[in-house]
Amino acid sequence: MKNKMTYLSTLAGAALLATSMGVSSQTIDPAVMAVMESSFRTQGIADKDRIYPDEVQALCSDRAFFNSPEGQKKAIALQTAALEAIEPPSDGVYMGDWKAGDKLAQSGRGLTWRDNVGSANGGSCYNCHQVTEAEISHGTIGPSLLGYGKLRGNSKEIIEYTWNRINNSKAYNICSNMPRMAHFDILTEQQMKDVMALLLDPASPVNQ
């Protein structure tokens, strides 16, 4: 059962984020949330609800709190929970089609207020990562993925780690910049398998 994001709407300005982990809750500055609430509106599929951070977002929005002993305890708790929530592929098959994977790595579509419900989202991988050698239009926000499979091999551990990382990068680094592909239904299971193949299939251009 995938985690669904639980937002708590603000009541009289204070945003309290409940947690079941036994770590005390974090408060977002009420003055900040008041500005957010008065400034945004729903547009297309981008619902106004998106302004409310979930626990992970709240933690990573506040460097001072993150660096505190309490923040660090919370980081570990959320990271552990994230890892536990990841599901393996429903049919046990991890690898899809690398050609489809490269197409969706190129695509930055989906989830903006100009996108439609039901249209396929992209992975936006090239926005942040180098992936294949041929594609020079790539970002540098994330590490290069060139030779990903060639360098690491295809062991069970690598396959599972890669799968997990695509599903929810924050399971390994709670404030990772990488979006949580499965957690927010950015990519479907099949799409994630295609990205797996892009990274790990020996025939993929990533590994030439």
Partner: protein, 268 residues
């Protein structure tokens, strides 16, 4: 045709002339060459010309010009005004950026309802003349130092809120402004990202917008730039001139304080 014909509205694909095995370095050089070619004549100048005429033109239900509009340096003073925005205004008792302040003037002097301007779309209707006026006004601060010291308590408050919002994550991709703009030397695809949390990066950002954006063939104001950032962050729609836009502007401008206004700028 022997002369250089650059139709900025027609996309020039650099990749068509660069072999696929070329390294990113050479592509970056080619892009820079292309940008230099464009810098030879900023289309924004023509928006400035239009804005200069509109500033003195009687418009709106009251058929009045904006010549009495106070942008912070006194009624009708345009030169240097943009360099000290956003700032606190006593008559509205709030911190305002250029576009929200123009809305105040358009309403009070010309009788154009702020709500109607807010409802309009970028580049169309009521916003179109306003955007040309923005180009004119910022052009009258070109080369001047950015002066946003945030001395008034409400200005200080906006800087602090702006900074928190800058780091506030949200939406299905967990993005905040900081996701892209809080580290030196990064780029998204081939677009370099200024570090807006440091003076140099903030000055590069704040000092070069509003700008003519070649990829869109249009002049983009700062409100439009912020709006599109939030769209790409998968966030909901920031209302035109709303406090979130002013707070972020205040944070960036204050961080950029002392830097140079290069507006209107020219962007990819």
């Amino acid at each position: 045709m022997k002369s250089h014909l650059i139709a900025a509205a027609v996309a020039l694909t650099v990749s068509a002339s660069v072999p696929m095995y070329a390294v990113a370095q050479s592509a970056a050089e080619q892009l820079q060459e292309y940008r230099d070619m464009l810098a030879d004549g900023n289309p924004a100048e023509l928006y400035e010309m239009e804005g200069e005429e509109l500033w003195v033109k009687p418009m709106g239900p009251k058929s009045a010009s904006l010549e009495q509009c106070d942008l912070g340096l006194g009624a009708g003073v345009v030169q240097g005004a943009a360099a000290q925005l956003p700032r606190y205004f006593a008559d509205t008792d709030k911190v305002q950026d250029l576009e929200s302040r123009l809305m105040t003037c358009m309403e009070n002097i010309q009788g154009i309802a702020q709500a109607d301007v807010v409802k309009a779309s970028f580049g169309k209707g009521l916003r179109q003349p306003m955007e040309a006026i923005v180009a004119y006004v910022v052009g009258q601060s070109k080369g001047m130092p950015i002066q946003v010291p945030a001395t008034h308590p409400k200005e200080k408050e906006m800087v602090a809120i702006g900074e928190k919002i800058f780091f506030l994550q949200g939406g299905p991709m967990d993005f905040s402004c900081a996701s892209c703009h809080a580290v030196d030397g990064q780029r998204i695809r081939m677009q370099d990202l200024p570090n807006l949390t440091e003076h140099e990066g903030a000055a590069a950002g704040w000092g070069n917008w509003p700008a003519y954006r070649v990829s869109n063939g249009t002049f983009w104001t700062m409100q439009r730039r912020l709006n599109d950032c939030y769209r790409q962050q998968r966030m909901p729609f920031p209302v035109f001139g709303s406090d979130v836009t002013v707070a972020l502007s205040m944070y960036m401008a204050n961080k950029a304080n002392g830097g140079e206004m290069n507006t209107p700028g020219l962007k990819r």
